[in-house]
Symmetry: C2
Subunit: 244 residues, 2 copies
């Protein structure tokens, strides 16, 4: 009861975090999770609109999102940019920095957020000790690669409405995994950011939302989305169009 447990320690313990079913500790046993506790020294708050890191920043840590919502984006010299992902609680960002020791994208908070700072050198060190952690970390990176390939498929071969349907279904599924409604949620990003992610202009995104609403698949009220016909959305995503 009176054990010398500091507030800071409580605050940063993976073993007591309510995200442990989603975050790095996924699938680890109780004592293994406890070994992770020493991985996370600090937490950081990032206000909406602020960057957690930017392209070119020195890379030192990965970040596990504890609360909030981020987007990552890459840019070219000539001003073009592309949203490469939207990340929510329990997801890990910053892996892009390992290869060059500098970050290769920007991570921007889309709402007031909080992240666990995971010093990368510490993660490598613990990975050498704990096989399960090592394997889990490799899985996280592999999953990101597979996810990226899925986005390529979307960008390379789907039409506007198919892309948006896929996007909504993906969000829905991820909200479900976090215990939120799968059919009723608030978008944290603008039409323009959705468009950038999907390779579309904001007007096209807006039109597709309206179309889905007219077709009775969803109802849209600005950022508030309610999905009324999941099967219908899946059908939109699946239809190849004209080619037989």
């Amino acid at each position: 009861m009176n054990a010398p447990v500091t507030l800071a320690h409580i605050k940063t313990a993976c073993s007591t975090c309510n995200l442990r079913e989603l975050c790095l500790p996924v699938g680890l046993k109780r004592d293994e999770v406890e070994s992770l506790d020493e991985l996370v020294y600090t937490r950081m708050k990032v206000k909406r609109g602020e960057s957690l890191f930017r392209t070119g920043d020195d890379f030192a840590s990965l970040y596990a999102i504890r609360v909030g919502f981020f987007k990552t984006r890459v840019a070219t010299e000539d001003g073009r940019d592309q949203v490469t992902g939207f990340q929510m609680a329990g997801e890990l960002i910053g892996i892009d920095g390992i290869v060059t020791d500098h970050h290769n994208c920007d991570a921007v908070a889309l709402e007031d957020s909080e992240v666990c700072v995971i010093p990368y050198s510490k993660l490598e060190e613990l990975s050498r000790k704990f096989e399960v952690l090592q394997h889990h970390f490799h899985k996280v990176m592999s999953r990101e690669i597979v996810r990226d390939h899925g986005v390529m498929l979307l960008l390379g071969s789907m039409r506007a409405e198919e892309r948006l349907a896929a996007f909504l279904l993906n969000l829905s599924q991820r909200f479900t995994a976090r215990g939120y409604s799968s059919s009723d949620f608030i978008l944290r990003m603008t039409r323009e950011e959705i468009g950038s992610y999907l390779g579309l202009k904001l007007e096209t995104v807006s039109r597709a939302f309206s179309k889905f609403q007219d077709d009775g698949l969803i109802s849209v009220q600005q950022k508030h989305i309610r999905i009324s016909d999941i099967a219908g959305l899946k059908k939109v995503m699946g239809q190849t169009g004209s080619t037989c």
Copy 2:
């Protein structure tokens, strides 16, 4: 001279491989590279058109390309597919399989090829022993993620000619790194495969090649490409078009 060195051993030693400046041993010291030798037990030949692995196959190994050229592709149930990359000598494929213990894409040889088989469990085991190997493997995965983000940028925000210019410049650079001509090479893939990778139809790819030739940037003779104006290609890639 008469040391009992088996042919098999010679054949699979990273420490004597002429790709060691490109492959897993990149940046490792001599004795560290030697520790990799036990990582690679076998080599495999894959004939042109054959698959090294397919979606759904059990995952057990990564593959380092020793000779040849591959494409990887993902597909949806409804028949759509997308080439996610072209891999050449010294590059590592199969990472997509870690997350689910099953491969998540197909890897098809575009010419008669040879790969080193790297048992994944062995790689994890050695990674726990050798910090440098661990870090290097993480870098390989991180690089793949960063590369994928670049492809997303290409697919999401570039026009047909910009995409093809970027593609040619990327190939050129990778050939250079392997000691081949940067301006004169044979494409191993068809127009359709290039199109799939770039999110374009084969006719559009063909037209863009012809346009580049008319503009004096390259000369095209079926699969034989000669780049005559690298700077010109870079300019094509850089031009944002109309938006200012």
